[in-house]
Symmetry: C2
Subunit: 250 residues, 2 copies
């Protein structure tokens, strides 16, 4: 936003995923805009599930036309097994799932960029792809607009997309592979809370997803703007930070 330059849809999003020994915890906001005067709620978290067999969770940041079309094409490939496109539910590994998502994403972005011509710099998106299939371990990838990706590791057990900086300090301080799923939910919610306080364009409601290791299923929950637990936690955290600040000696 420096000098009034609006940096496109991606700044209107914050998604974070944690890959821990106990499982995976993912959180996304839902605010999307098409210009500052057209702000809406759009889901940015999508689950592809064969309970007990395979779970895939995808979170998206960036151009809504690119992310919607990418997700639609992934669904098409699942619904039409005869078609040429490869289904993420049939892919032999999570690595292959990340490749399919990356290829689909970069193809869609290219198609949209051609249509948009000179405005093509806005036609991109980034995604977090997390999942586990029976017989394999949990894996989590950050897929770049060009389709390449990086993977979450023990050294960096979390991935973020969109407006990621405000919410990173707390993750750096409290998250490790050993973090419990309960603490992990706390961590991502407080990370989101810091982000929403510093950037008004990231907003409620939130989508929270917990995937326990080895269960190949997801428990998702929408946290609405009037969620009591979230607001109490946010207020408690504010008070605790202020108290901690007061107690520090210089």
């Amino acid at each position: 936003m420096r000098g009034g330059v609006w940096t496109g849809g991606e700044a209107m999003t914050y998604c974070v995923g944690l890959l821990l020994n106990a499982g995976m915890v993912l959180l996304s906001d839902t605010r999307t805009n098409a210009g500052l005067d057209n702000i809406s709620v759009y889901k940015k978290m999508f689950t592809f599930e064969q309970p007990g067999e395979r779970i895939i969770v995808i979170m998206t940041a960036g151009s809504l036309s690119v992310t919607q079309t990418t997700i639609a094409r992934l669904h098409d490939a699942i619904d039409n097994p005869e078609a040429e496109a490869e289904s993420v539910l049939a892919a032999p590994t999570m690595l292959r799932v990340a490749e399919i998502v990356g290829n689909t994403l970069s193809c869609v972005a290219r198609d949209v960029a051609v249509k948009l011509g000179s405005m093509s710099q806005n036609a991109s998106a980034t995604m977090i792809v997390a999942g586990q299939r029976m017989g394999g371990g949990m894996r989590m990838f950050l897929v770049y607009p060009e389709g390449n990706f990086i993977e979450s590791t023990a050294d960096t057990p979390f991935l973020q997309i969109g407006e990621h900086k405000y919410g990173k300090p707390i993750l750096d301080r409290v998250v490790s592979m050993e973090t419990s799923l309960s603490d992990a939910q706390k961590a991502v919610l407080l990370s989101m809370d810091s982000t929403m306080r510093s950037n008004l364009s990231v907003g409620m409601p939130l989508d929270l997803c917990v995937v326990k290791e080895g269960e190949m299923s997801a428990v998702t929950r929408r946290i609405e703007a009037d969620d009591d637990v979230f607001h109490r936690m946010s207020a408690d955290w504010s008070n605790a930070l202020r108290d901690a600040f007061t107690d520090i000696e210089i």
Copy 2:
């Protein structure tokens, strides 16, 4: 750094200034690079002082060639009162000081951009200009690369340049116009601490400057990498945050 793209010198900097009822507190890091394999210490905080009459503090982020030349030209104008360039020490108001700095900055950036040709996107810088002259109030400005600027207000009593997002949540939570100069120093140091933890390219030593309201003089202090007080404060803050996190109930 997404996809390996290095975003230029500005990301290697964090400077923050607070304008409070009691005075002004400014903090900058000192790390500069010319390529990842050439990292050095360069001062990013500059004071122009006529004790009891006028104090001006400038902090810089961005291309080192642009910021050094801009500061050099400001000094030249002070040293050569016969020259055409206007001296910041002779300017009638702090607003005029901000204009002089902005004009000098945009001129230098244009000159450097012409020399660099197609690489001109890197030849820019941003500055924080803070000060007070006898008979006037304290004022603090963020000067953009193009020379225009915004001013710190009671609603937003702090300005940041460079890698500003990691260190903003704590400022949002604890800083107001009523904050004491002692708490203000704590706040900027902890804000810097969060930034250095999340971005290794922002680094020690630090330059801290305190300007008391109405005194028209600055007390500056360099905080070296082995500063005991800073490290104790950083460790205390980490522990306090972890304890606070543990105590929050979900």
